[in-house]
């Protein structure tokens, strides 16, 4: 088959479009989803094709999200879109207290098939109130399934799965990845919602990452070359976390590095490392390592964010130092530090 290279945002749009074609229960609500380039392009052009199913809405996150939950409870399959985690937080009740608990609290038989897409994290100039991730909140509420697509292919496959799932699925989409490109199958396909993926096998160290951080690890591995044999795991799901896949890898490599792109307190790395540490059958060669953002809000001035997120260099050096290898000395350009990558994945 010929390659078909598309962007992360296009992959999301394609999944939405293809699933809307086959499932009349699917509709989309969110601020600006009806625009020509709606929701950062992830709903581009769909309003024209599905005029009654792509719904722009008033600025009422709580009301519109819980409305969608109510529609899901009664048989539709809504996609809700929120442009920032902070906007979605206004809909906390609908997500964490209603959708997550509905089937359980009514004793089963009450599914909530809803997909809530939320853009998270890093982008220049967003500042302290537009860049949180709050992963541990999303990971810690039972009843939700929560995934973080790390590439265009994952974005499409996970959104398709989410739309075939009979439970509330939250998709956290790192803005940092929106322009990443990849060969993505044109047909409908699914990626499992609750399985981590070993995306590169190795024997010296296990690196667990997700979303934008995973992309930085990929870049770091290019810097490192063959110096270290790294097993790279895309965590994919943070609710539930696939601890088994991590354990199997760590059992083999004996070393663990986690890479987070959120504040270090209560980050995903802690959850992973704690599970490995509690696992009596795993013996590590060294203490596990966690990279994360400092425990401060995200400032706006680029000079202040320069050292905020783990970069390919800090990640590469964490891996090299874990294996006792000399570190790399490389200064990143302004573009590398602050502009979202436009890489084509292979």
């Amino acid at each position: 088959m010929a390659e078909r290279i598309i962007k992360y945002t296009e992959a999301l749009k394609e999944a939405t479009d293809q699933m809307m074609e086959i499932d009349p229960k699917v509709f989309v609500v969110g601020l600006g989803v009806s625009y020509k380039n709606g929701a950062d392009g992830t709903t581009a052009g769909l309003k024209a094709k599905y005029p009654d199913r792509i719904l722009d809405v008033p600025v009422s996150e709580a009301g519109l999200t819980s409305m969608a939950v109510g529609a899901a409870v009664t048989g539709l399959h809504p996609i809700v879109h929120h442009g920032r985690v902070e906007f979605a937080l206004l809909a906390s009740d609908g997500m964490f207290t209603q959708a997550a608990k509905w089937n359980y609290m009514f004793g089963g038989g009450n599914p909530v098939p809803i997909v809530i897409r939320i853009n998270v994290g890093r982008q220049w100039g967003n500042g302290p109130q537009h860049t949180q991730a709050l992963y541990s909140l999303f990971g810690g509420v039972p009843g939700l399934k929560v995934v973080i697509p790390s590439s265009p292919r994952m974005a499409k496959g996970l959104l398709v799965s989410a739309l075939k799932e009979n439970n509330p699925v939250i998709i956290l989409e790192p803005r940092w990845l929106f322009n990443i490109k990849e060969d993505v199958p044109t047909e409908i396909f699914s990626e499992p919602l609750d399985k981590a993926r070993v995306i590169r096998e190795g024997k010296d160290i296990t690196v667990v990452a997700y979303g934008d951080g995973l992309h930085s690890v990929r870049e770091a591995l290019e810097l490192i070359g063959d110096a270290v044999s790294v097993e790279l795991i895309d965590l994919v799901s943070i609710n539930p976390v696939d601890h088994d896949t991590v354990a199997r890898s760590v059992a083999k490599t004996g070393r663990l590095l986690t890479v987070d792109t959120t504040n270090e307190a209560f980050d995903i790395g802690s959850e992973i490392i704690a599970h490995v540490a509690r696992n009596k059958s795993l013996k590590l060669k060294d203490a596990p390592i966690g990279l994360a953002c400092p425990n401060v809000p995200v400032p706006t001035s680029t000079v202040l964010t320069e050292e905020y997120y783990p970069t390919k260099v800090t990640i590469a050096n964490a891996i090299l130092s874990a294996l006792g290898k000399p570190s790399i000395d490389k200064k990143l350009s302004f573009e590398e530090l602050h502009l979202a990558p436009t890489t084509t994945l292979k």
Partner: protein, 319 residues
């Protein structure tokens, strides 16, 4: 007409009897589940549900025994739920604040104040989207009406013209807090609601007839595709906010003191109406006795019913 009132009387009396028997059971036993009694407000639930059809849906709040029963919910499964039994309408997982009986269109109640309003709007959205007909009614209180999401929903429902009936049961209090401590003296619900383009009516929530007539008119409006409506019913809650007792001694009540509540009691009102229409005391007493017997039987049934298996703790987190 007479039969209509007789039917309403039966429903109201059976809700009343059920709750009285449950309250008695709570007082005599260690029941480990919250409870908010509906006693006094029966005319609202029955008046509204009588204006609905079988395919219409109803949702409620923390005080939904009456809503559930008025829509036809099963009493045994309700009491079982309160007592945490396996046959409960949520298999014991929800408790008193989570009523559900989808077989009769009662599709759930939620105790986070205001939350039912957008959820019901979602159900109404579905009814319009799927062109299936039917409307959704949501019951909630004057306190819940202070949550911002209610106003977001008034706007969204009006914009989408969803077939939604919002029934505000204004029983004068949020817990023990009076309206005047929660709203300015110039507060006018009607102006607010109609400002969003939503139809509004106010009913005497102690008068079945008034509630039913106005609910019927609004249901007609909604069915005709003209969009959502709000029915505010002013009513009295007879018992404490959340306990199987009368709490007049607490001293917070003003207008709705005990004798006033008894005097204006909604069940008594329908009863007197029926008497005046020539229904015999015997017939009414028979209805009351039947309701009582049924309530007693259901409570007894639930008390003896089996508990869920401990393993159910782990089931149904996901569908």
């Amino acid at each position: 007409m007479k039969t209509a009132y007789l039917d309403a009387f039966k429903k109201m009396v059976s809700i009343r009897a059920a709750e009285e028997e449950i309250a008695k059971y709570y007082l005599e036993n260690k029941v480990m589940s919250f409870v908010h009694f509906y006693v006094g407000q029966e005319a609202v639930a029955v008046g509204v549900c009588d204006a609905l059809s079988a395919e219409d849906r109803v949702m409620g709040n923390h005080r939904s025994h009456g809503h559930y029963l008025a829509k036809g919910g099963d009493l045994k499964r309700m009491v079982c739920e309160l007592l945490g039994k396996a046959e409960g309408c949520c298999r014991g997982k929800g408790g008193s604040m989570h009523m559900i009986d989808k077989s009769v269109g009662f599709i759930g109640s939620t105790p986070i104040l205001g939350s039912v309003v957008p959820l019901a709007n979602g159900s109404a959205f579905e009814q319009r989207y799927s062109k299936r007909g039917g409307i959704t009614a949501a019951f909630f209180g004057d306190g819940a009406f202070e949550e911002g999401v209610v106003y977001e929903t008034l706007n969204l429902a009006a914009l989408f013209k969803n077939p939604l009936l919002l029934v505000v049961e204004n029983n004068l209090y949020s817990v023990n807090s009076k309206l005047r401590d929660r709203r300015s003296a110039e507060h006018e619900v009607e102006r607010i609601v109609t400002g969003f383009g939503v139809r509004y009516m106010k009913a005497d929530g102690l008068d079945y007839d008034d509630v039913h007539k106005k609910a019927s008119e609004l249901v007609k409006h909604i069915r005709s595709g003209k969009g959502p409506a709000v029915l505010e019913c002013v009513t009295y809650r007879h018992m404490a906010h959340s306990a199987p007792i009368f709490d007049d001694a607490a001293g917070y009540r003003e207008e709705d003191v005990l004798e006033k509540r008894l005097e204006k009691d909604s069940v008594k009102k329908v009863r007197n109406l029926l008497l005046s229409q020539g229904v015999s005391e015997t017939e009414l007493s028979k209805i009351e006795a039947d309701a009582r017997a049924h309530a007693v039987e259901c409570v007894k049934y639930a008390a003896a019913a089996p508990l869920p298996d401990k393993k159910e703790l782990f089931t149904d987190v996901y569908a």
